[in-house]
C-alpha cells in the first residue's frame, strides 16, 4: 500500500515538474535577437523661405545667396537670414530668410517586425552669425530641436509628422521604434526622417528681419535595428 502511495507521489511530482518546465519554456528559453546598423539610402537638405522685397516694392533685390551647403553624407539644419532696410518714407527692405531641414531615408523593407530601433548620428560642424561675423563652434553645437517622419520630399519645406524632440550633443541617439514600425507595417509611407529646428518655417507674411544664422551639419547616420530573426525571414539570420 505504502509503495503504491510513494509511486503515485513520485509520478505526481514528476508530472508537476514536467508541467512547470513546459509552461515556462517559452519565457525561459532565450530568443536570439540580432542587431543591425543600416546606412541611409538617401540624405539631402531641403531649403525654403522667402527672398526679395515685399508688396509694392516689386523688386527682387540682390541679397547674397547663402554660403552654406552640405558635404558628403551630411545634412544641414538651421536658418540663415539676411536683412537690409530700405529708404524712408517707403522702405523697400531686401531680405532673404532661409530655413534648412535635413532628410535621411533608410530601406527597412527586409523587416517584418522590429524589436526596437534607434537613430544615431553625429553633429559634425556648426556656425553662428551675429553682429556681422560668422563663427564656427568647437565642439560643434546641435541647433536642431525636433525630428519626425517625412510626409513628402517633393519640396524643400520637407513637411513631417510624428514630431518628437531631439536631444543636443555631438553624438545623438534617439529611439525611433514606433516610427520604424509604422514603416514596416506600412501604416505610414517611408520617406525617411526629417531633422528640423531651431525655428519653424518662414512665415512670408511676417518674415524675420535680422542677419542671424544658426546652422548645424550632421552626418554618420545609422539606423540601429534590433530584431528577432525568426520573425524576419528576409533579414540576415
Amino acid at each position: 500500500m505504502k509503495t503504491i502511495i510513494k509511486k503515485t507521489n513520485a509520478i505526481l511530482i514528476g508530472l508537476i515538474l514536467f508541467a512547470l518546465f513546459m509552461s515556462g519554456c517559452d519565457k525561459c528559453s532565450p530568443v536570439a535577437l540580432k542587431t543591425m546598423d543600416l546606412k541611409p539610402t538617401a540624405t539631402f537638405t531641403g531649403s525654403s523661405g522667402t527672398s526679395g522685397s515685399e508688396g509694392w516694392c516689386f523688386s527682387q533685390g540682390n541679397p547674397p545667396p547663402s554660403s552654406f551647403s552640405a558635404g558628403p553624407g551630411q545634412v544641414m539644419v538651421g536658418f540663415d537670414n539676411f536683412f537690409k532696410p530700405g529708404a524712408d518714407p517707403f522702405p523697400c527692405n531686401d531680405l532673404r530668410d532661409t530655413v534648412f531641414r535635413g532628410n535621411v531615408a533608410f530601406d527597412v523593407s527586409q523587416f517584418d517586425s522590429v524589436a526596437s530601433a534607434d537613430l544615431l548620428f553625429d553633429t559634425q560642424n556648426s556656425i553662428e552669425r551675429s553682429n556681422g561675423e560668422t563663427t564656427g563652434s568647437s565642439p560643434p553645437k546641435s541647433f536642431a530641436t525636433v525630428f519626425g517622419t517625412a510626409t513628402s520630399t517633393s519640396t524643400g519645406k520637407l513637411p513631417f509628422d510624428n514630431e518628437a524632440s531631439l536631444p543636443g550633443g555631438q553624438s545623438i541617439d534617439v529611439g525611433v521604434s514606433s516610427q520604424v514600425r509604422s514603416w514596416v507595417d506600412k501604416s505610414h509611407p517611408n520617406h525617411g526622417f526629417v531633422i528640423a529646428g531651431p525655428t519653424d518655417l518662414v512665415d512670408s507674411s511676417n518674415p524675420p528681419e535680422n542677419n542671424q544664422a544658426k546652422v548645424s551639419w550632421y552626418g554618420n547616420f545609422k539606423l540601429r535595428i534590433v530584431y528577432n530573426p525568426a520573425q524576419n525571414p528576409h533579414a540576415p539570420q
Binding site: C57, S59, P65, P89
Partner: protein, 212 residues
Amino acid sequence: MKGKTITRTAAIVMIAVVLLYAASISLAKFGSETPEQLIAKLQQSASKGDVEGVLSGLTAESRKAVEKSYADREPLDQSREEFRKALNEHFGEGQAFLPVKEDDLKATIGRLLSTEVVSQKEYADGSVEVQVKTSIKGDGDKSKTVESTLLVRKEEGEWRLALGLSPNRSDADRIKAAIQVATKDVRDGKYQDRFTAMVALDNALNKAEGGN
C-alpha cells in the same frame, strides 16, 4: 494707272502714320493724371500679370533698379553654383540640395490683390506721399492687409511710383566678386576643408554687405 497707285500708296502711308501715332500715345503714357489713378492702374496691371504695365508706372530710377535686380539673379546663382562645384571637386561631392523657389517679377506683382488709397500728403518738391491699404497674397491661401506709405512724383508729365530702395543696396557685382575670390581660393587649395571655406565666404559676404 500711275495716279491710282500713288493715291493708294498715299492712303496706306496715311493710315500707317495714324496707327503709329495712336500706338505711340498708348505706349508712351501710363496715363496717370492723379496719384490715385496711378495706384489704381498699377493694381490693374499687377492683377493682369502685365509686367510692362507695372514697370511703366515706376520712376525711371526705380524701373532700372527693379529690372537690374531680376537680370542680376542668374549671374549670382551661377557664381554660387561655381563655388559649390569647386567645393565638391576639392572636398568630395556634397549632398543633394533642394533650393528655395524664387518668384519672378510676374509672380511678385501677382501678390498684390487689392488696394485702397487712404490719404495723401503733398511735399514742397511736388511729390506726394500716399497711404495705401493693400491686400497681399501670402503662402497658400493666406493673405494679409497692410498699410503702406508710397511716394509718387511726376515724371515726363505723369505720376509715377518711386520705390524706397536703400542707397547702399546689395550690389550684385560686389557679391559676385566676393564669391569668385572664394571659389578661386578653394581651387587654389587655400582651405583645409569644406566647412572652413564656407565660413570664409560667409565672412567675405558679411564684409561686402557692411556687416550688420
